[in-house]
Each structure stands twice: as C-alpha cells, then as structure tokens.
C-alpha cells in the first residue's frame, strides 16, 4: 500500500521521547494510516466537483473496523477544519490547500491543480493523525469512517450557520481588546509569527520564481543544442566537437527538468504549506486573544458593576480556567509546531541542495588531452561517459586527467 511519504517527527515531550527510544526497533508508533488518492470528477445538474478517495487503516479499538474507504470532497475537508478549530481554538490546526489559486488559474479541474491539492489534502489528514490531541477528535473519526449520508446528517448537528456568524462578529470585536493584555511569551510568539509569515511568503515567491526561470532556461537550451548539429552539417572538421557540445546541451536541458521536478515535489509544497500555516497561526493568536478578552471584559465588568458580583465571580472563575487551558494548549502545541517546522524546512532545503548537487554532477568528467604538434599546440577533449567515450577532438595520446594534473 502506498504509505504517505510524509511523516512528521513525534513531539519531543519527555514521555514521547521515552516511547521513541523504547520502540526504536519496532515499526512506527503510528496506529492510524491514511491515504488520499483517486480524484474523481462528479457531474450533477447543479454543479461539477471532485471527490477524493480516503483509505484509513487502524488498529485502534475505538474504530469499529480496521479498514475504511470513503469519498470526500473539498467542502467536507473545510467542514472538518471548522469543527477542529471550534473544538480546539488555540491548537495549531494543519492548513488546508487554498480554495482557489488566485493567479493564472483557468480551470479549476486542471490536472496539476488537482494533483497538488490531493497531495496537500493527504498531508492535512496525516498531520491531524499525528497530532497528539487532534487525532482523537470525534469529528475526525466520523470524517474518516462515515458513509456519505451519515456524514451529512452528522454535519447538521452542529450550531447553525447564523449562530456561527454571530460568534464570528463578537469574536472580532473581542480580539481587539485581547491584544493589549497579552502576556510576554505570547507577545514574543506573535512577533515571531509576524516575521516568520513575512519571510516564508518571500521564500515562497522566490522559490516559484526559480522554478519559472529554470523552466525558461530549459526551453532555451532545447533550441540552443540543435543549432550546433545544424552547423556540423557544413563543417567537416568540426563535426565531432559540435555534436559533442550539442549532446552536452541536451543533457543539461534534461537535467534542468529533473531539477525542476525535484523542486516542485520537495521544496515548493513544503514552503507553501508553511505559508498557509503562518496564516493559521495568526488566526490561532486571535482566538487566544479573544478568550483572554472575554475574561478581561468580565473582570472589568466586575470592577465597575457592583451588582451580580457572585455571578460574575463565578463566570470569571470559569473563564480563568478557560484562559489557562487555552494558553497551555497553545504553548505546548507551539513547541511541537516549531520543532516540526524546523525539521520540515531543514529537510526540504537539504533535498533542494542535494538536487542541485546531482544536477551539476550529471555532466561527465572531462579529460583534457594537450599534445604538442609541430607548431603550437592543439587541444582535444574527451567526454568520459562510463563505458563509452565521445571524442570532441582528435589525438588520443597522453591522456591527462584534469582533476589530478595541475592546469
């Protein structure tokens, strides 16, 4: 079965580290394996949409079976994300791929777009599965296991659209207040998020631009190489040299395409995911601030109004607990997220560097033969290509390896 290629490191709390050491020789601690594949187009009278197949394999007791297969559409993912945010307002929920790509998207159902989205959705579900808290969320379980009609009826159970809208309006108003009384560590966190968001966005743009430039470079090389072949038709003495160069250019073009592939598989999705993460994080900060603000507004109410002090005090007590919970949850999740981010970024860029090294190593080693003729000297080159050799010049005596000889 096609295992998801991505698996984030386990959080480094002492307990899980012990677990890691204990089970080092055993397969993954994971007991929930999810894949997203097989996008399919559905056409109804009202709309066209894509569904993705989700296969879940698990050994957990609370699941009725050990294997599930369901089909979900993007809307369902949105719903799941909403529910998770509701249930855990200060946890860092993994980001979903965007609804639309703003620029240059002609068709929503372009193959590349669908494939990119599929990979991102796959990552989304797996990140949830790896999260120590979110993995046990009830809605998550329903999402993975319920048949289509079961899911629809389950969806209807939550608070209605209007009440959710009302909540949002109040939340925005409150979040403004929360910023003022933010504790030190969350100020730092917020500062980090702001800078990080800026930088990761820039890196996203830079990486996309590099991809574009490489594409154009590869295209130009495709035209460049054949000119040398054309030229060799009118030059008897230069045929070998010209053909050698043409083949080198051709190799280069292919190697560039491979490099681009690596970029789009390893680096671009990771960077983009963290762009979305940075937006997520800002939302999380806001929600934390909201919760704080709720408390602060009640406390303020207490200092001004003498009436209902008992009720207020009780409410404040509850809110204080709520705030403490939220802050702790966020703090813990923040550490986890920072750690994962570090690893993901590290491995993405290391892979990119490796791709580049391989790209430059593609070219065969050059043997330079310098021999003296009657008058002056002539330079001949050999391309060494493992078993075969293509001569660029003439004369074969006195082969000198340039890497050992002084030039």
């Amino acid at each position: 079965m096609d295992m998801n290629s991505f698996s984030p490191m386990m959080p480094t709390s002492p307990l899980s580290m012990i677990n890691q050491i204990k089970f080092e020789d055993e397969p993954d601690l994971k007991d929930l394996f999810i894949t997203v594949d097989e996008p399919e187009s559905h056409v109804t009278t009202i709309e066209t949409f894509i569904t993705y197949r989700i296969i879940t394999k698990t050994s957990r007791g609370e699941f009725d079976s050990s294997e599930f297969e369901v089909r979900r559409r993007y809307q369902d993912f949105l719903w799941l994300k909403g529910k998770l945010e509701e249930a855990h307002p200060t946890l860092i929920i993994p980001p979903l791929p965007e609804k639309f790509i703003v620029k240059g998207m002609v068709e929503r159902f372009n193959d590349d777009f669908i494939e990119t989205r599929r990979k991102a959705l796959h990552k989304f579900l797996n990140r949830i599965a790896d999260h120590p808290t979110l993995t046990f969320n009830e809605d998550f379980k329903v999402f993975l296991t319920a048949q289509a009609w079961e899911l629809s009826s389950h969806k209807k159970q939550g608070p209605g659209l209007l009440s959710r809208m009302g909540q949002t309006v109040r939340a925005v108003a409150l979040s403004m207040r929360g910023v003022k009384s933010r504790p030190e560590e969350f100020m730092e966190m917020n500062n980090f998020i702001e800078v990080f968001s800026q930088k990761i966005n820039l890196i996203d743009k830079i990486s996309q631009r590099i991809y574009k430039e490489e594409r154009e470079y590869s295209d130009e090389m495709k035209e460049y190489g054949p000119i040398h072949i054309l030229w060799s038709a009118s030059e008897e003495d230069l045929v070998d040299t010209l053909k050698g160069i043409a083949s080198c250019i051709d190799k280069c073009s292919k190697a560039t395409e491979k490099r681009m592939c690596g970029l789009s598989e390893a680096l671009l999705p990771v960077v983009h995911e963290y762009v979305l993460y940075s937006e997520m994080l800002m939302g999380v900060m806001k929600r934390r601030d909201q919760i704080q603000a709720e408390l602060d507004s009640k406390v303020e109410a207490l200092t001004y109004k003498k009436a209902d002090t008992d009720l207020l005090t009780e409410e404040i007590g509850k809110l204080e607990d709520k705030v403490e919970c939220a802050n702790n949850a966020l703090k813990a999740d923040w550490e986890r997220w920072r750690h994962n981010m570090q690893n993901d970024i590290k491995s993405a860029f290391t892979d990119m560097a490796e791709e580049n090294i391989q790209y430059y190593e593609q070219f065969p080693t050059l043997g330079i033969n310098v021999c003296r003729k009657r008058q002056g000297f002539c330079l001949a080159c050999w391309w060494e290509k493992g078993a075969g050799q293509i001569a660029l010049g003439t004369d074969t005596e006195g082969f000198i390896n340039p890497f050992t000889a002084e030039s």
Partner: protein, 459 residues
C-alpha cells in the same frame, strides 16, 4: 616615432596602381625571396597569434626581427569632429615591441594612440589593395547580440575592454599574415601617429574601390564563375546564418541562466533576516544564506568568460563577409572578362561583315547607309582598319585579363586554404574551451551546493 632606416624605403612601397588585383610585383618578389629563407620563423598560420606574438618582417642590416604588438590601454577622449562639434570617443594605445633574437628580451619601439575609425580606414585600404586575401575583420562597431545585463552602450567599460581585445586580435591577425604583414601602410599604422590618415588617403585607394553597384551587377550576370567560389559563397552564407542564430540563442540562454542564479541570491537576504528570530536554526540559515549569495554572484564571472567565447565566434561571423568579398571580386573579374570576350567577338563579327559585305547583325551605320546611301569603299576600308586595331587591342586586353583572372584565382585560393585551416583550428579551440567553461561552472556549482547542504543539514 618615425625611424625607418633608409634602405627600408626602397623595400616598401605601396601596392602598385595598375592593374588592380595584381599582387604588387615588387613586393611579391620580396616576399618570395624572404619566404624561402625564413620558413622556420614565419609559419603565419595563426599560431603565433595564439601565443600573443605578431610577426612583422622588417629588414635591416641585422636580418629579420620578431615584433610583439599589443593594444594595451583604452582611454576616453573628447575632441572636435569634422563638423566642429564636440564628441566623445575612445582611443586605444598600440604598443610595438621588438624581440631581440639573442636574449629574447623585448624593447618598446613604438607606441601611439588610434581610434576605431582609423582601424576601419586601415581595413578598407587593405580590402582594396589585397582583394585576393581574406582580410581579418574588425570587432563589431556596435554591441550586438546583447543580453539583458549587457549594455549596448559603446562607452560601457566592459564593451570597451572587449573591443580593445578585439582590436589587438585584428592587428595580430594582420601581422601574422604572410602577405599583409609586409604592407607599408600597416607598418606606418603601427609607427607613424601623425599624418597617417593623410598618407593612406594619398594612395587614392578610395577611388580604386569597386563600386557596390558594379559588383552587384556582376554577381547577377556572370555566366561562368569558378565553381569553387560559388560553393565558397554558399558556405559563407551558411556560416553567417548559423553563427548569428547561435549567438542570438546563446544570448537568451545567458539571460535565463543569469536569472536562475540571481534569484537564488534573494534567499540569502531572506535567510539572514529569518535567522534573527530563530534560536536553533539561526546559524544554519545564516551560513546557508551566505552560500546562496556566493552562488548568485558566481554567475558574473562565468558569463564574462562566455562573452569572450561569443567574441571568438563573432570574429568568424564577420570573416564570412570577408570571404564573400573575395568571391565578389572574382565574380567581378570574371564578368569583366566575359564582357571583354563578348565585346571582342562582336567586333570580329562586325569586321567580318564589313569585309564580306553581308549584314547579319544590326548596326547603326548599316541602317543609315541603307537609308541615306551606300558608303564609299574608302570609307569601308577605314572602318575595317579601325576595327582591326580595336580587335588587336581587345585580344591583348583579353589575354592579360585572362592572366589576371587566373592569377587572382590561384592566389585567392591559396589564401582561402590558409584561412580554412586557421578557421578549423580556432573554432575547434573555441568550442572546446566553451565546453571546459561549462565543466568549470559545474565544479563551482557542486562546491557551493555541497556547502549549502551542509549548512542546511546542521539547522
């Protein structure tokens, strides 16, 4: 610095005035003699040029000498042009050194400043007086095949530098050519700063240049040119077309490559700013960013080297035109010959008709005699006599033109063979050095990315 020893004057004379296309008989003899005795020292196939030495034959009481020529500096100047307006131009310093046989030391013998237009004048002179020679081309007048970063400005220091090298190359090519190197105007170009322009113009070479129109006419109407020249023309057209195509695409490739490298430089800046907020990743990010900067700036040197490669190709792009000039000259001479032969044939026919009394061809005289009455026998005799004289002259001229033509073909083809060898040698070297450049670029790339990878993996 003018210090031509007295006996040099005798040796060196400007190419003769008539007939055109003839190698200077006096000079030819001199070349012949010297060539015999100096085979070891004057290979003249361009290899000296590759080693930075130009050979100039000077003969004095001490035998043959070797001379080094270099265009060592370029300077911006302002002056007044022909219309008395201020203009800015670049002047180039030409230094000539003579290499003593005995100890191999070189002594500066001449140094003077010349501007591009004077080089052009020299070349135009050579084109007129040596039409059977493939005259080396000058570096381009204006920057062409520029890619994005390169400036098309003639005052740009990089352009000036590349032009300086190109001009030096031109002088070395002329100096290492077995025939061109002996030209006096060329010698004066290197040694006589003032008055040189006047001296060149005094040769009257502009008047001797074939008119473009005449040449074009000949190209279309010539019936029987030497097949080798026709093939050569096609070859030079192909060469020109393929090299310009290659240079154009190379410029675009350079542009793209520049883009790829430079965009990576942005990583450097962003990583550095990001590292400020990271505790553990900070160092790794910072040093990786530094390597990204190194990577981005490495493209500048790489592309500069590639420009030199492009210049080498450009030289042969312009050589194609020089080849065509020789072909044109042949066509002109051949056409001239054909016209002369035709003229002679018609005169002979006229003569025959007058003598026998039959009129097969149209002639105005014939017409008028028909209309206005016959001419007297005396008149006819007179006309026949004139024609016979003309026919004699014509036959002499045809003979000499034939000879000229064959001489031209022989000499031109000899130079073309020399040129072909030079071209094959130079182009092969240029292409191989291009391949070497690419390899070196890859080596640099491997190094930078290996360093970057190490930094990333330490984050």
């Amino acid at each position: 610095m003018e210090q031509a020893p007295p006996d040099l004057e005798r040796q060196w004379q400007p190419a003769p005035l008539e007939p055109l296309g003839h190698a200077d008989a006096g000079l030819q003899a001199a070349v012949g003699e010297e060539a015999e005795g100096s085979r070891d020292e004057v290979p003249g196939d361009g290899t000296e040029h590759a080693l930075g030495l130009g050979v100039l034959m000077t003969e004095n009481n001490f035998g043959l000498k070797k001379i080094e020529i270099s265009v060592s500096e370029a300077e911006k100047r302002t002056g007044r042009n022909a219309m008395n307006m201020q203009e800015t131009y670049t002047a180039y310093l030409i230094e000539t050194r003579s290499v003593e046989h005995t100890d191999g030391q070189s002594v500066l013998t001449d140094s003077l400043w010349r501007r591009y237009s004077e080089f052009e004048l020299l070349r135009n002179y050579l084109l007129v007086y040596y039409p059977h020679i493939v005259v080396p081309p000058l570096p381009e007048k204006r920057a062409e095949f520029v890619w994005h970063k390169l400036s098309a400005d003639n005052m740009d220091p990089d352009f000036v530098e590349r032009r300086r090298i190109g001009l030096e190359n031109f002088l070395l090519r002329v100096a290492s050519h077995p025939i061109l190197c002996r030209d006096k105007i060329f010698y004066l170009f290197l040694t006589q700063e003032g008055n040189w322009k006047e001296t060149v113009n005094e040769t009257g070479f502009q008047l001797k240049a074939d008119s473009r129109l005449k040449a074009l006419n000949a190209t279309f109407r010539v019936k029987n040119p030497d097949k080798r020249f026709t093939e050569l023309k096609h070859y030079s057209d192909e060469l020109q077309s393929v090299i310009s195509h290659l240079l154009r695409v190379r410029a675009r490739v350079a542009d793209r490559l520049y883009g790829v490298y430079k965009v990576h430089g942005n990583y450097g800046r962003v990583f550095s700013e990001w590292s400020a907020i990271e505790k553990e990743m900070g160092d790794g990010l910072q040093s990786a960013g530094h390597h990204m900067d190194v990577y981005a700036s490495s493209i500048d040197d790489i592309l500069e080297d590639e420009e030199h490669y492009a210049d080498q190709l450009k030289e042969y792009l312009f050589y194609a035109e020089a080849l065509r000039a020789v072909c044109r000259k042949h066509e002109l001479m051949q056409y001239d010959l054909e016209m002369a032969a035709q003229d002679l044939a018609s005169k002979k026919q006229q003569c025959e008709e007058l003598a026998t009394g039959t009129v097969r061809t149209f002639s105005l005289k014939g017409m008028t005699t028909k209309l206005f009455g016959q001419e007297t026998p005396e008149q006819r005799e007179a006309r026949i006599k004139v024609l016979e004289e003309q026919i004699n002259e014509g036959e002499q001229q045809l003979k000499s033109k034939n000879l000229e033509g064959r001489e031209f073909v022989k000499n031109a083809w000899a130079d073309i063979e020399r040129f072909k060898e030079q071209k094959n040698h130079d182009l092969k070297e240029a292409l191989i050095s291009y391949a070497v450049m690419q390899i070196s670029m890859c080596k640099k790339g491997i190094q930078v990315w290996t360093n970057a990878k190490e930094c990333f993996s330490k984050m």
